[in-house]
Symmetry: D2
Amino acid sequence: MANRGINKVILVGHLGQDPEVRYMQNGNVVANFSIATSESWKDKQTNETRDRTEWHRVIIFGKLAEIAGEYCKKGSQVYLEGQLQTRKWQDQSGQDRYTTEVVINPIGGTLQILGSRDSDSHQQPKPQTTAQAQHEEIEPDDIPF
Amino acid sequence: MANRGINKVILVGHLGQDPEVRYMQNGNVVANFSIATSESWKDKQTNETRDRTEWHRVIIFGKLAEIAGEYCKKGSQVYLEGQLQTRKWQDQSGQDRYTTEVVINPIGGTLQILGSRDSDSHQQPKPQTTAQAQHEEIEPDDIPF
Amino acid sequence: MANRGINKVILVGHLGQDPEVRYMQNGNVVANFSIATSESWKDKQTNETRDRTEWHRVIIFGKLAEIAGEYCKKGSQVYLEGQLQTRKWQDQSGQDRYTTEVVINPIGGTLQILGSRDSDSHQQPKPQTTAQAQHEEIEPDDIPF
Amino acid sequence: MANRGINKVILVGHLGQDPEVRYMQNGNVVANFSIATSESWKDKQTNETRDRTEWHRVIIFGKLAEIAGEYCKKGSQVYLEGQLQTRKWQDQSGQDRYTTEVVINPIGGTLQILGSRDSDSHQQPKPQTTAQAQHEEIEPDDIPF
DNA sequence: TTTT
DNA sequence: TTTT
């Protein structure tokens, strides 16, 4: 458990679709989704406003995957902390291909659902959906949000 | 402009009060507020749920201070990136005192207002208030949120 | 174990003194030290190079405290990840005082010793001393650096 | 210049090769290299120590690219902060391919060369080579490391 | 002093 | 595919 180096990704963005959750034979849970981060800037040459959206493939393991499955949906804004991982696979023609994903593990990873508070009127309080868990050993009744 | 070391703070929390904005004689703008971050956990000994809220003093300079003044208010949820700075001052009795603050400078600092989207019903879209600027040289009309 | 908000500090700097390590009656270990982060910049008015060093009080719990005690010393360069915590105490005159520290807990916290490689000549490779542990449950023989 | 979302990568690792630096016709500078981050852990099933090295493609623009070209080399340990970007390209057969890179821009990006201090003997202090620049507008003589 |  |  000694590491050499830091491999950390921090994203705040919106989910492009509902998470896909799979329950493994060994009890593990895995969730997948993509989230978008956008930036816009004014092009100094043309004086036009330009825009770029980046999509990030996110894969979550363990308790946070369950939380994602239950509380995140298409359009949810989340804060997450994970690490970069590039996976090798073969396409139909047998060629090597690589896909880079942001992996959120129970240890060191974080997921929080943001927002949930009506920003203009506070008259209608809603159930808070901000959530976080950082550890596999959490008991289900530990998730009070 | 060469640095030795990294001094970085990342916070997501809610403002405890409206930002206090001051316009300096030299045109600089400074904004102050405090934000709360909370964590709760189950005490393994007593089996009780416990809770701790941490308050952080935030001071913002430049364009981001103006944005804070205009778009942040008490209760707003924000993402911010700044650095730790401990300031020495004298109390009434002349004794040295120290206060640690999170300073957000135009270069390297970030402020984004989160949320603004109704998390349950998407029927009534609201004006987006998520915002960021990272650079002093931004023209006012560059802030489109 | 649900949290509201993110409270994260990332520092890279050098220790100002050897860590002070205390072993508690309950078996817990706590280490303290300060680390310096410096930045220098050219003052645009005076055209002089200016310099500022910031000192951060760090407190470490658990296995990472032991690692700090054994492998960090005055002058060591470290990467660390912790959270801000402001502690209230009373001075001799009974007045409330506050001290802000960077707390590194076994869960979510990180400590890595940097360097160890001669940056000028690569002829004499040295044993790598970069290290990290993020979890209390680490067995002692798991720390191979 | 308003952004929606946070896209941030923090890496500490060693360069796999000397940086490749290209000077563009318009005066821009671009540097490329890969850096490795490693983690090891004990497999709980087999009780064996396992190891995984992740390689990250890094691309740097502007002044930091020049710094990388001059001061980084194969084996250098660096701290860097950038953002994820996935680039689409066509392979020889015309098929779409995607490559994810960590992009370090002058604004918001950071590069620091770590180490430079002999970790075992402190008798012979060496010139500090830790360095950082965060801004395009830096004059060459601003880089004192 | 926030938020749920 | 998100969000404003």
